[in-house]
């Protein structure tokens, strides 16, 4: 029985599309013909290695991706060895033939051997040298800040530490939920210079928008309102309809992407730090939230001054400081998102159970905070 390893997941490949074979001596016309056939018939392109150290296949795979723009499966067949796993993946292969299922272990360990790579390749699953310098410095600064924040439980003092440690623009994205209201209170009390904004998805509860107005008046501040790109929105609705998010997780994620993630990314661009109201007690997925981490994708320090606060601490803080909160919290909404996608939860339910409640429990993030590891570039 033939086995194949999926280089992106390091597991045995489950799919078995038909293949069109492409010799390592193929010229451009022959490569084009193979790509046309593979695309038309949904086939994989197999590149046979006569011997593992005949490295022509690596250049052929590179060309299929970069010259021909082929997106389908590229498979290494013939004599390839586990020690080449990362070379294959980075040169553009998806799968490789494995002599026997026991050898899978060596492929897996080979794929996990390196954290970094020096050069840009077709696929860049590893940290690249050219991006590492900023990351190393960012991680060091974030770790130092995290330590400082952890030294006090006083929220005002914590946001002050952020302001003292960060050079450049500090942003705070508020959902107007109670965590963010507490953080905003601390920011105002500390008197620090922070760019405060909220993402108006155009689908919010009226109560949320009322809270926005009430908050601005209460603190005498302006909160910048960021809305989705109208062109993006038009395209989304044309494609999925007004309520497409109910039909599939992908459609829902596209909706979150256009209404929240992209506007957020635009607002964070160029910022040196981002303050969030994330708390470990909010959900299992947030259980490991750090006070400050380097976000390599956004290239900024992401801070969560409330990370280790308990529900009780938060409620006491809000009460003691008479902080305005969204009235929906008292009606069974611990976590408040867009109106069509949020319901009230019963006592004892997970606080985020009311978000996209029709979906599976796993991965219920809109994409603002949880990011999947990206193996794919094309």
């Amino acid at each position: 029985m033939e086995h194949r390893v999926d280089l992106k997941t390091a597991a045995l490949s489950q799919t078995s599309p038909g293949v069109t074979e492409l010799a390592v001596t193929a010229n451009r016309d022959e490569r084009t013909a193979a790509v046309v056939e593979a695309v038309l018939h949904g086939k994989a392109i197999a590149i046979p290695f006569a011997k593992f150290n005949d490295g022509r296949g690596f250049s052929i795979a590179h060309l299929l991706r970069s010259d021909h723009g082929f997106r389908g499966e590229v498979r290494a067949t013939g004599h390839v060895i586990p020690d080449q796993a990362l070379h294959l993946l980075r040169a553009g292969f998806d799968t490789a033939n494995v002599v026997n299922a026991e050898a899978l272990f060596h492929w897996q360990s080979s794929l996990a051997h390196y954290k970094g790579a020096y050069q840009k390749a077709v696929r860049n699953p590893l940290m690249q040298r050219r991006l590492a310098t900023q990351r190393i410095k960012g991680e060091q600064r974030a770790a130092a800040l995290s330590e400082k924040i952890a030294k006090t439980r006083d929220l005002t003092q914590r946001v002050r530490e952020i302001a003292d440690s960060v050079e450049g623009r500090i942003t705070f994205s508020t959902s107007l939920g109670k965590e963010d209201q507490a953080v905003l209170h601390a920011i105002v009390s500390a008197g620090i210079d922070v760019d405060v904004f909220t993402l108006d998805t155009l689908r919010h509860f009226p109560e949320t928008l009322e809270t926005l107005e009430r908050t601005e008046k209460h603190y005498g501040i302006k909160i910048r309102v960021v809305t989705p790109d109208p062109m993006d929105l038009e395209e989304l609705i044309a494609h999925d309809g007004e309520f497409g998010f109910r039909t599939s997780v992908n459609s829902r994620k596209a909706c979150c992407m256009i209404r929240k993630v992209l506007p957020l990314n635009r607002s964070l661009k160029g910022a040196a730090a981002w303050i969030t109201g994330l708390r470990r007690e909010q959900s299992a997925e947030r259980a490991d939230v750090d006070h400050a981490v380097w976000d390599a994708d956004l290239e900024l320090i992401k801070t969560s001054p409330l990370a280790d606060w308990t529900d009780g601490e938060l409620d006491a803080y809000i009460k003691a400081n008479d902080i305005p909160v969204n009235p929906l919290h008292d009606q069974g909404y611990p976590s408040i998102g867009c109106e069509p996608c949020t319901r009230a939860v019963s006592p004892g339910e997970d606080p985020r159970a009311g978000r996209w409640w029709w979906e599976n429990e796993d991965g219920k993030e809109c994409g603002l905070h949880g990011r999947e590891r990206r193996l794919e570039v094309a």
Partner: protein, 552 residues
């Protein structure tokens, strides 16, 4: 010099962990020797006549004293107390055990060193002008670009299983001291308009059984496009280089088979296609690497001319050493000093652990802690104050490393030859020793003047015999070691391949033959004429006559 950060250290420790696992799989029989071979080669490990040999990379020949001392430690602990400077600015340990290699690699990693890609069919350690950063005739420091190339070529996903080994050399000075014409890719930094610089790229040079001088492929390449251009060059080679015959697999064979113009056309077409793919380094990353090579802060240290002249007059050894081993520096108060591992009787390039440590001491005291390895198998102290030269000479005297013969006939390049290498036909080191003893009289060597004499133990030409003014090649003649002599080769700006002068000689006749060649040159030369000029003017005949008599 380049200093590792967390990223580089993580990479190296990942690499060493990977190789440790591969060694364990080999020892457990899970990898065949056939499968293990390319993996060990990519980590510098050869299987030679008597033992494994580990070739350690010295990127572009640059060493800190901390690294040099660690090499000494490795020589003591895991070898027989010595190492061998190679003709590609590396060091070889000839007596290591396979089971120890992972530990040796870890010891190297402690000082940011490795043996990655010092062999195998991949891009090898990039070599450069050993005077980089100090040379008086420098346009741009080539170490910056050699380091950029080192990083780009390390564990390259596409170019790790090439048809054959691939060697790149770069020089940034007016005079080529990196033998770029004898490399798969040779890079010469040239001045551009308005104080800018660029790269002139040569391809297809090499020695071996089919020697070629590299040909120009690109007249002027802007610096920020080096990686994409090389990537295009390598891709065409990877796809079209021959794989059916190991002796015809180097890029020089491809370039000469299809012609430089056809090869250039293919490369330029591919380069146009990939120029937008961001292969080239972003400016900030190039600047990060450049910052590691900032010129040292050299204090003004004018030499007292009277004292210096007096010291030279009092000690003829010092005087000779200053004439030949002290070379001009960018800063007139300073000098580049060559420490010769070539005194009569020494196998060229062999260095004991103690010598490594003593040179490290001298470099710490007199040269800001930096040492270079030359492809001619000597060491260089790049930044020595002229005022310190006499003291340095006295310190080196204690080590015996004061031969004042850099560039002279006894400054021989030689491969390890049949004493170690399983490819060799003949021994190289005893021949080199015999010749250095024949010309041991310093006045005799000095009277001959500059002369490059190179010895290879076989046609693979690791001893660069093709590019020697006088080249000696070990051949197997009906089971006995014989030596063929070539004349007129040159590694430099006038790069040339030597001509075979006639039938080969048995080992015991070689010193006589060399002496006859030298005597012929001395008899024929006019004024200050160098060996190559004389040879070009009079041709091979007078030399043939001296060697073989008129009857031939």
């Amino acid at each position: 010099m380049y200093r590792y950060d967390e990223f580089d250290r993580d990479f190296l420790s990942d690499r060493n962990r990977e190789f440790r696992g591969q060694v364990e799989r080999r020892l457990a029989g899970q990898l065949t020797e056939d499968e293990f071979k390319p993996l060990r080669l990519m980590n510098g490990l050869y299987l030679q006549l008597h033992a494994y040999m580990l070739r350690v990379a010295i990127p572009y020949g640059v060493l800190s004293t901390r690294q040099l001392r660690q090499l000494g430690m490795i020589a003591r602990r895991w070898d027989k107390g010595f190492g061998h400077w190679t003709t590609r600015q590396n060091i070889q340990f000839n007596w290591v055990k396979l089971v120890d290699v992972p530990d040796i690699l870890e010891a190297l990693a402690e000082v940011d060193m490795h043996a990655i890609q010092t062999s195998g069919n991949c891009i090898r350690n990039v070599t450069a002008d050993p005077f980089a950063g100090a040379a008086a005739d420098e346009i741009e420091d080539p170490r910056i670009w050699a380091e950029i190339l080192r990083q780009w070529s390390t564990n390259h996903p596409e170019f790790t299983f090439l048809p054959r080994k691939f060697k790149i050399a770069i020089t940034g000075a007016l005079e080529d001291r990196a033998a770029i014409a004898f490399h798969d890719i040779g890079i010469r930094i040239v001045g551009g308009p308005n104080g800018t610089f660029g790269f002139r790229i040569y391809v297809g040079g090499g020695q071996g059984r089919t020697p070629y001088v590299a040909q120009e492929i690109k007249d002027f390449l802007p610096p920020d496009q080096l990686l994409s251009y090389l990537e295009a060059m390598l891709r065409i080679y990877n796809l079209h280089g021959r794989r059916d015959n190991i002796y015809k697999a180097r890029i020089k064979i491809l370039v000469n088979a299809i012609g430089i113009d056809a090869y250039r056309t293919q490369v330029e077409e591919e380069w146009e296609r990939i120029r937008g793919e961001e292969i080239d380094l972003p400016a900030d990353e190039a600047a990060r690497i450049r910052a590691h090579f900032a010129p040292p802060q050299l204090q003004p240290m004018p030499v007292g001319h009277a004292a210096f002249s007096k010291a030279r007059a009092q000690d003829s050894g010092f005087d000779r050493w200053v004439r030949h081993n002290v070379l001009p520096h960018k800063n007139p108060d300073y000098a580049i000093v060559s420490i010769a591992f070539k005194e009569p009787g020494r196998p060229p390039g062999d260095a004991t652990a103690e010598e490594m440590e003593r040179v490290a001491d001298a470099a710490d005291r007199y040269s800001g802690g930096e040492v270079r390895v030359t492809y001619t198998q000597n060491l260089i102290l790049p930044n020595v104050a002229r005022a310190d030269l006499a003291d340095l000479y006295e310190d080196l005297k204690a080590t015996g490393l004061v031969a004042g013969n850099t560039g002279l006939i006894t400054d021989i390049i030689a491969c390890p030859g049949l004493d170690y290498c399983n490819l060799a036909n003949a021994r190289s080191l005893p021949i080199a020793q015999d010749i250095t003893e024949r010309f041991a009289e310093p006045e005799k060597a000095e009277a001959i003047g500059e002369l490059r004499l190179n010895i290879s133990g076989c046609i693979n030409a690791c001893g660069h015999h093709h590019s020697g003014h006088i080249g000696i090649l070990g051949v197997d003649k009906k089971g006995t070691e014989h030596y063929q002599i070539t004349l007129g080769g040159s590694p430099g700006d006038d790069a040339a391949i030597g001509d075979i002068v006639g039938p080969s000689f048995p080992a015991e006749e070689v010193p006589d033959a060399i002496e006859k060649i030298v005597d012929t040159y001395l008899a024929q030369r006019r004024d200050e004429e160098g060996f190559l000029a004389t040879y070009a003017r009079v041709g091979a005949d007078p030399f043939k006559e001296a060697l073989y008599g008129t009857s031939r």
